[in-house]
Subunit: 204 residues, 4 copies
């Protein structure tokens, strides 16, 4: 069984998710610049979620690069990941509409955490399927980002009640961690000139 | 005529269907955890429909694996299947909004039944086109799941008036039947190492 | 320049159009079967438009089968066709919401007519590009369906004011003309076993 | 790393953007031709944005034609472009709903300008990656359209307050500049018969 349709389906779902979030930003009725002000929270939460979905698409792209054959387990682990990502527009809208209040901010983190766990499960399913010489395992390596991110989400969820803005700062930091390229990886990547260590990119 | 565009189009439609159902879950206006409570029925019906559409995509993927040439009949049988699947978001929203009341629960089953029949028609069209040595026919085999599911839908529709929750339990059981892998099939699949018996996966 | 992305983009747009029309069928608030009654006009106009978009996808699929190289002219003629198809959800919603009143029925026909002209323009652009030995020209042949359909649309638009249901009957007849396979074409198609005469399928 | 998924993802996002803008044109409740009148501004702003997104898809298509390997930098530059394009439906709705008032017209230009800059950044990232013998650099050439367009957007933004219709006229002119084929380029394109100078098509 090839991986072409798995990639195409995942691309389709992520492309739609990233796009329908825009529909939550309702065009204001007034025509003055000030009328855009109420849209700002929705816009900011859109930017954050756009970044997260872009990171997931990016890493998913790399991860599947190491995959040749798709098993039933991989198919379902992938659908499980897409399920959690599909909740991102909902929590994005809730957080934006309530101006980054405490509870929506915490629930946003819960969805990010669940997606990170789902990504990790997909990664482990692929590694198990690839067996001993798994290219994905060596690509992922120590995977400090993949281990640090869920931890930071847990911290953010815990402190969202006391300080929503601290929790949001954590979400921004995690996103930046994944967007800013890792120099060592870049170097390794050029050396091996192919599905280098970055190939396994893990969940944000 | 190749099957590439048939797959791409079906993937696109199913990816969009699975995603726009999320738009039916409106973000609540309040920012408390309790404000999420009214969304729970919509969420549960979303999870159920996500599972069904994922199963259909999965099985569709397997079924087309055995197809080389696409005839006009196959194109239209496939569009017929997509039509019934396209009604899933509507019945999902109706069932969720009415908190799993009797009639929406029954109509939900009717759409599942119609989709199962459409899937079976597509399967028969492909088998007829493949002729005597149809790989799909041998892949489908006894097809007990494909025969049991429509029967269970009929039961669910019949009892939805008396007990909606019994009908919903049946929908959940059918979905699990299809998600939980069939051990014998897995074994067969590994032996033949290719488009094995699972390849024909039938309609849920 | 290959045709892969042209096909993928067109598939994407048509898949989305065919799917978002479902969003116009709002789930009713009541949970009784009778509550579905107001949705019936929207449902019927959805079925008609689903059929038309499916026919367009189908014929587009066949037409591009004969194309190797995509010129700038073909790209724009294709985008022009997609523009008119993109108006189908709007006129479908307007016609459904107004229970097939005269004016929405006529405007629905105008969009069908414009799409048919755009399809014909795309066809001519491809034939011109292919030059003397155009496979698409010989595939299209006499093209009686492609010539009859716009004529029927004009009749439907003209009589919609006097009898909307006569106009709608014409739309249904044209759709059936395209869905019901043409026996002679099927025969020819099998003989040549390839991009046969059906390959040029023209606009409904 | 191949470019297939980058193209597929970009196609998906642009196809969805171009299509969901239609959802902003709400079907009017009345069934008379006059009831369509309030929809006209939304329709006109839809046509303009359809043209812009079509141009971007077209040029993106050409630009990636010259790319073989996709680096992390190219991936992110592409996502950055998609981000700005994803705001087009929002500003289109705002401009249409306010009947082309001054401020929405100016903000529309700001989004077009940001998208043009993002396109230029993507182009430079690709050229840098391709090194000395960059086919994209020679394809882009003097790039007078790519340099003129942002300038015209700036003019339009500046004069939108004084005369919104003058600003809109500029948007239309820039779109036409990109749609009307450049004869010299066509000639060059035929001579080289391949990824000719048009291949680099720059941002509108």
């Amino acid at each position: 069984m090839g991986k072409g349709r798995l990639e195409a389906f995942s691309d389709g779902v992520i492309a739609i998710l990233i796009t329908i979030m825009v529909l939550e930003m309702k065009a204001p009725h007034g025509a003055a610049l000030a009328d855009l002000r109420p849209v700002i929270p929705a816009f900011l939460s859109y930017v954050l979620s756009f970044a997260y979905l872009a990171i997931y698409w990016n890493n998913h792209h790399h991860m599947l690069h190491t995959v040749r054959h798709v098993s039933g387990g991989i198919l379902w682990a992938n659908l499980h990941l897409l399920f959690w990502l599909s909740l991102v527009p909902f929590v994005t809208a809730w957080m934006g509409e309530n101006h980054f209040a405490a509870m929506p901010t915490a629930v946003y983190g819960v969805v990010l955490l669940a997606a990170a766990i789902a990504y990790w499960l997909l990664q482990q399913t692929i590694i198990a399927r690839q067996g001993e010489a798994s290219p994905l395992r060596s690509a992922v390596g120590g995977d400090w980002k993949g281990k640090l991110s869920p931890l930071l989400y847990v911290v953010a969820i815990a402190i969202a009640g006391a300080s929503p803005s601290a929790a949001q700062a954590i979400y921004v930091v995690v996103a930046l961690l994944w967007i800013v390229p890792d120099r060592r990886i870049e170097r390794f990547y050029r050396r091996s000139d192919g599905g280098g260590p970055d190939a396994g990119g893990t969940a944000p």
